[in-house]
Amino acid sequence: MMTMTEATEDVSYVDAISQALDEEMARDERVFLMGEDIGTYGGAFKITEGFLQKYGEWRVLDTPLAESGIVGAAIGAAMMGLRPVVEMQFADFISCAFDQITEVAAKNHYRWGAAVPMVIRAPFGGGVHGGPFHSECPEGWFFHSPGLKLVAPSTPYDAKGLLKAAIRDPNPVIYFEHKFLYRRIKSALPQEDFVVPLGKADIKRVGNDISVITYGAMVHLALESAQTLADEGIDLEVIDLRTLIPIDKEAIYSSVRKTSKAILLHEDNKTGGIGAEIAARLAEDCFDCLDGPIVRIAPPDTPVPFSTPLEEFFLPKTSDIVSAARKLAAY
């Protein structure tokens, strides 16, 4: 929940991220940035525009095109006590650094007690005609790597608060920012420093009939659908996970105990997505509270296609949510 004190004018999702970086760099001299085209160019999405001038070339590093090398270097710098924030130009390129992330960053503390306080920012998600390599949601690969924390904000408030929390966390955090939301949503933000703690979901809409558990851009789809369904007397509760690892089991369980019906909604492919894990946990830990089958809404198991009608078919829509909710409500 947002506490609004002394809010100023509305800030967009993308500017919220920029503000978080700027404030953390000003507050803590250990924080520095690495990424392709983030310095002179100001970043592919202009998030770090002006940072090079403000913080200098040794805190805003334009790196060679080498994701694995950059992430590895961030690990080394983090172990020495700095707080690197690495930018993947698109989340799709994170696969080049998969080895360093999952074998080195994730396992270092477990194996020899060395903390790796770093953040990797990954602009993910589709709906921007990006095609297979600029629209991916790769969080599922890392969901499965013990030692990593994963976050995915859906609002400007959460975007700013979670990035700050991620930077201050002593563990490797992958921060999935949704590129579709960058300039499409705005909200007022508090003036003073605030943090959204990792590991806490947020109830974006309180309801009684069906729990919709989701994250990222899909949160907004769920809220839209909730309005339509409210007119039909179906009351959705929308749980925004905000953090994927560590997941807020308590929030999920207490919602489903109330509604007894659950829809898992995400933009990542269906098979083996996070929805599958949550569905399994609900069946294991909340079996006695279920009054209907656990439903997942997610794209089919294909790469993200480019052509508009294909991408529209691929991505979940409000009509999918509405129709699934109607069926589940009547079950």
Partner: protein
């Protein structure tokens, strides 16, 4: 193959109609010519027969809505809508026309509710898909009947002044355990008093700092102090074995938890390895699940020491009964502000009595007092911020 159901013209000059009632729920099966819905106009209310056999896939106009003639009301699919696209999760609909009562499949939530309230599900009318009993149906049934259910038959004499409360399994178990414990151990109880100011202060700082509800009860602090005292006087964490006294190296702390109808002692495992926040979390979780009867057997086994918080309703001192096969149990009474003497002056401090019942077969008074002195010391002098 989909068939459209449209608002029919129910007479000349009729331009609109009202959907009164859908006779089949969404996803239900309907035969051709079977009544599908009731429609009302100014002149008349009629049942509309279905033009096709199939599943009522989608209701577009809901009960109570008035629409012009010709409006699309619903769609019937002649083929069941199994997963056409692997995108939306399948709510697999069983096209059950009707099911004999008692033969029905009931969902876990429905069964759980029925169990808790002693309800016969065959008596409950189902309004879900295919006539299924839903959670709401059970809740509505409970609200209507409004009775508290007694599971066992109550046999009572017409005369006043006597009521027989049949033994529950829990009561029998508790009775047996308590008597046997008294017969097994040589129970002695010693009483100490501890100053809870440092703990109270720390709790207050926490409450102010966190803003959100980060409240710790006194119990995690007592648990923590007890585990440290056990490390110092480890014989207190033992049991009477066949060949000698078996001192347990692990500390699994039982927390006596009052239930509506009895008592359970769930166990916090490896309690000495946990900080205050984690202890608080686990204790709260175990208590909640104890009360909602969701503990698994492993969670009430293998305790090595027990703490009982008997101060809830104001009790100051207690002579608790040892939880076999342990050899001691620590009671913590109500914490109250009292006038105490410190440095020859009177001060007001939050004080609490600690009652330790111990098995005199295993340890003597001196050892017990040593242990309690340590508990008191840790309660009064720990650096709580480092233990959170």
């Amino acid at each position: 193959m989909a068939t459209d159901i449209i608002m029919p013209q129910l007479g000349e000059s009729i331009a609109e109609g009202t959907v009164v009632k859908w006779l089949i729920p969404v996803g239900g099966m309907i035969q051709k010519d079977e009544s599908l819905l009731e429609v009302e106009t100014e002149k008349v209310t009629l049942e509309i027969p279905s033009p096709a056999t199939g599943l009522l896939n989608e209701i577009i106009v809901h009960e109570g809505k008035t629409v012009p003639v010709g409006t699309l009301l619903a769609r019937i699919d002649s083929a069941p809508p199994w997963e056409v696209v692997n995108r939306v999760g399948g709510v697999v609909v069983r096209p059950m026309a009707s099911t004999p009562a008692g033969d029905q499949h009931h969902s876990p939530a429905v069964r759980q509710l029925a169990r808790e309230h002693g309800i016969e599900l065959s008596q409950v009318k189902g309004t879900g898909v295919g006539g299924r009993v839903t959670k709401k149906d059970v809740l509505d049934f409970i609200a209507q009947s409004g009775s508290q259910v007694d599971v066992a038959a109550i046999a009572s004499e017409p005369s006043m002044g006597e009521e027989l409360l049949p033994f529950t399994q829990m009561r029998k178990t508790i009775a047996d355990r308590m008597v046997r414990s008294k017969q097994t151990s040589a129970h002695v109880t010693t009483f100490f008093e501890a100053d809870f100011s440092s703990i109270t202060k720390f709790r207050e700082t926490l409450r102010q700092d966190s803003g959100q509800s980060r409240r710790l009860t006194y119990l995690p602090f007592v648990v923590r102090a007890a585990t440290r005292a056990i490390r110092d006087v480890s014989i207190v964490n033992s049991s009477w074995g066949e060949q000698g006294i078996v001192v347990k190296k692990d500390i699994h702390m039982g927390i006596a938890t009052a239930l509506e109808d009895g008592l359970l002692v769930p166990v916090v495992r490896y309690a000495d390895r946990k900080g205050l926040a984690q202890l608080a979390k686990e204790i709260a979780d175990l208590a909640e699940r104890a009360r909602s009867k969701k503990l698994i057997p492993e969670e009430i086994q293998d305790g090595t020491f027990t703490i009982t918080n008997h101060g809830g309703f104001g009790s100051l001192l207690s002579t608790p009964i040892i939880h076999q096969p342990q050899i001691a149990i620590l009671g913590i009474g109500a914490i109250q502000k009292r006038a105490v003497v410190i440095d020859d002056a009177i001060a007001i401090r939050p004080m609490g009595y600690l009652s330790l019942s111990f098995d005199h077969r295993v340890i003597d008074g001196a050892t017990a007092d040593q242990f309690m002195a340590k508990v008191k010391h840790y309660l009064e002098h720990s650096h709580w911020e480092q233990i959170l």
